[in-house]
Symmetry: none
Subunit: 228 residues, 4 copies
DNA sequence: ACTTACGGGACTTCCCGTTAAT
DNA sequence: ATTAACGGGAAGTCCCGTAAGT
């Protein structure tokens, strides 16, 4: 969640022989998951997508559940990196915490607007996908997902706290809850985009979240914002 | 979405022989879907839950996909009824469109707070569940889902338009987008509740949505609201 | 075997209520058998063809095997009647036994040449059909089939014996074997017609059989015959 | 058709791992087909016969229909080889085309007389078997069958043409039709053997076919032949 | 590291047959 | 006599996983 769906190959410098194969599996499985869910992503389908063979698959993932875990771990790591990078960009752009927070939100909006290849799977959150087949997965997978959300919440909540110190909110809110909310509206927007078969629905939700941040914290609220 | 998960038996007055059986299947399948997803909801599991037999299942649902369609159709119908009833309650409670809208939102919050049986599946939206296995499902299922969201959006947007006529929004917004937003934050909250394994997370999101409505439309904004 | 495939309704005078239904089942099952074999003729397919329901089927045939038996018995009875009628026609046409035998064979050829409706199943012998799934059937069914062949053989062999008394065969043959042979070439022709997807193949075989009878018995063999 | 049922193992010199398994399936399936037909030849029965597993079966035949095709293709290939070998033997035995043709026919008769193991399925033609469940099979299977018959017809017709050049037939016939006839009487004899539950019935039909060839072509017809 | 053959079980589908009701 | 709901099991397909081989 909260970052553009990037299925592009990793840029790891050192490729042990076979690392590429493993990533091919992860890339294919990720795309299939967003189309068919986890149980619908059969090993055979992954093999068909990659052109590799069963032996190769089970060499890298002794159990299919290992694939799910690796997928979620990679997805969580990408999410953290994506957040950290966006925070850095925001902090470079302004010294004011509110401007940084708004910059962060706009950054996510912009990335959500990037064009996607025609054959890309419908936009979606791999974790939400797993969350809706939750009892098919191990507690380890659930742990990674929870920690991933908590990481986002903690990092963003820290920023929100700075904002709240400087800009008293118009309504009583908690920093963690605001951070969570930004996560929730992103995932909610993705679901809505799928239900309506209309990916831009996500953008509209993210803009409401930006509105909310401004209404909550912006002291002088003139009509300087543009909304679609 | 946007309503408590009600798996209670139907109260239709007169059952043709076999209607009860069909509903038993739907009830069990609904609960299983929210735990395992559609592919994880094997017919065998449904039979184990209901104590019925394969013959009975196949009699009512010649293909397993027919179960998915029936499930989604029933869920959509319940959602519409739930919305219509909540709208009626809101209109009885006040004559002011903004108060009605806020009442509606609080109504959903209260229903989300109702205690659930210990063996209930984790809170979730059946449509979101299907949306994350989207390519396993027919276009008919997708159509029912889209129409269901559109119904919610249209009904709520009508109400929002009345609000906007009387209470000019502090930021430029569109009625449909606001209605959509209420849907999205509900589904996003459900996903978040699952990712954190913490169902009350949904409540916090719904309250932010209420905040947003107030900040947008309420002319005199004092500190009378409660936050968790 | 050895008669045109007649699937037309029976002309029984007295129809007890339900007799029509039973015959509908038999007609539909007969056509399906010649397309799909016995195991491929599922009860559901018969129901789809007839528009009747399962209860009606099992009312008339407590087991599916009863259908097979009824089918074979009806087919055997029709075969006997068909033979008896052809024999009568032959005996009316000439007093000479050889001419009668040749008339009989030409009668079968003519009936095999009758046009068939476009939606008729490919020409075939219901008994051959059953014979190729032989171990799926009861000994009772096998008995009816054997007796049916024996009836044909005995009736025709009697005629062949008269021929042999008057016209000593050019090669030593037995009356029963000649009768059998006429049966065999008919069924072989049907198989060939199916293998080549070319129904007229049957006619060519029947004409060879006629040739054989002439070569065996005809004292003065001039070139009065026409062959295709 | 027109050759003894040989289910003996292939004598290919070098087996890739797994070829033996595939042939085991084909051998077992062939025997079961002749007893139960294709639909009666369940995969489970094949497994019971071979002692192999479902996984192995599905590995070699992704669909059951692929088994049918493989079976028919192997059967057709064996039929061609069998015919070619018999033709070679006939051409070694005599220089006279008529003697060769008669030798060929007697060759088939002799092979049909070979004793069969007690547990062998009733004599039958795999193609006739499929032909009587024709609509259960793909057009590819039908094509292989038609080509198989055409091969036999063309090869034998070529020989018959030589005979006709040297020995003008007593009745006007076509070479192709005579070749077809030899095929038809073989398959008809097999059906008759099954209907009478009396395998030797086939031999009697084949001898009539031999008679026919002699009556048609043999210039001086003495009583040197033996009949059963 | 990667391949092919295989093992074996689960799942959907299909089918024969029964039963309660009319 | 005929229907719909249902029972229950078998069939074909699919799929995860193993293992021997290269």
């Amino acid at each position: 969640m909260m970052r553009a769906m990037t299925l592009t190959a990793h840029d790891s410098v050192k490729h042990r022989r076979g690392e590429g194969t493993r990533d091919k599996f992860l890339d294919a499985a990720c795309a299939l998951m967003l189309r068919h869910g986890f149980n619908g992503t059969t090993v055979e389908r992954v093999l068909a997508q990659t052109g590799l063979t069963k032996g190769a698959f089970f060499h890298h993932f002794p159990q299919k559940s290992h694939l799910a875990l690796a997928l979620i771990e990679r997805y969580a790591a990408e999410g953290r990196e994506s957040l950290d990078a966006a925070i850095r960009r925001a902090e470079l752009a302004s010294d004011d915490p509110l401007q940084q927070l708004l910059f962060l939100q706009r950054d996510y909006i912009e990335r959500a607007q990037l064009p996607t290849p025609a054959d890309a799977p419908p936009a979606g959150c791999l974790m939400a996908c797993v969350a809706y087949e939750i009892e098919e997965h191990s507690s380890q997978v659930r742990g990674v997902m929870r920690e991933s959300v908590e990481y986002f919440r903690n990092v963003v909540a820290a920023k929100v706290r700075y904002v709240m110190e400087k800009y008293p909110p118009r309504m009583p809110v908690q920093a963690e809850a605001v951070a969570e909310y930004l996560y929730a509206i992103y995932d909610g927007g993705l679901v809505l985009g799928r239900l309506l078969a209309e990916p831009p629905a996500l953008i509209r939700q993210l803009q409401h979240a930006e509105n909310y941040l401004q209404l909550l914290f912006q002291p002088t609220l003139q009509q300087e914002q543009a909304t679609s």
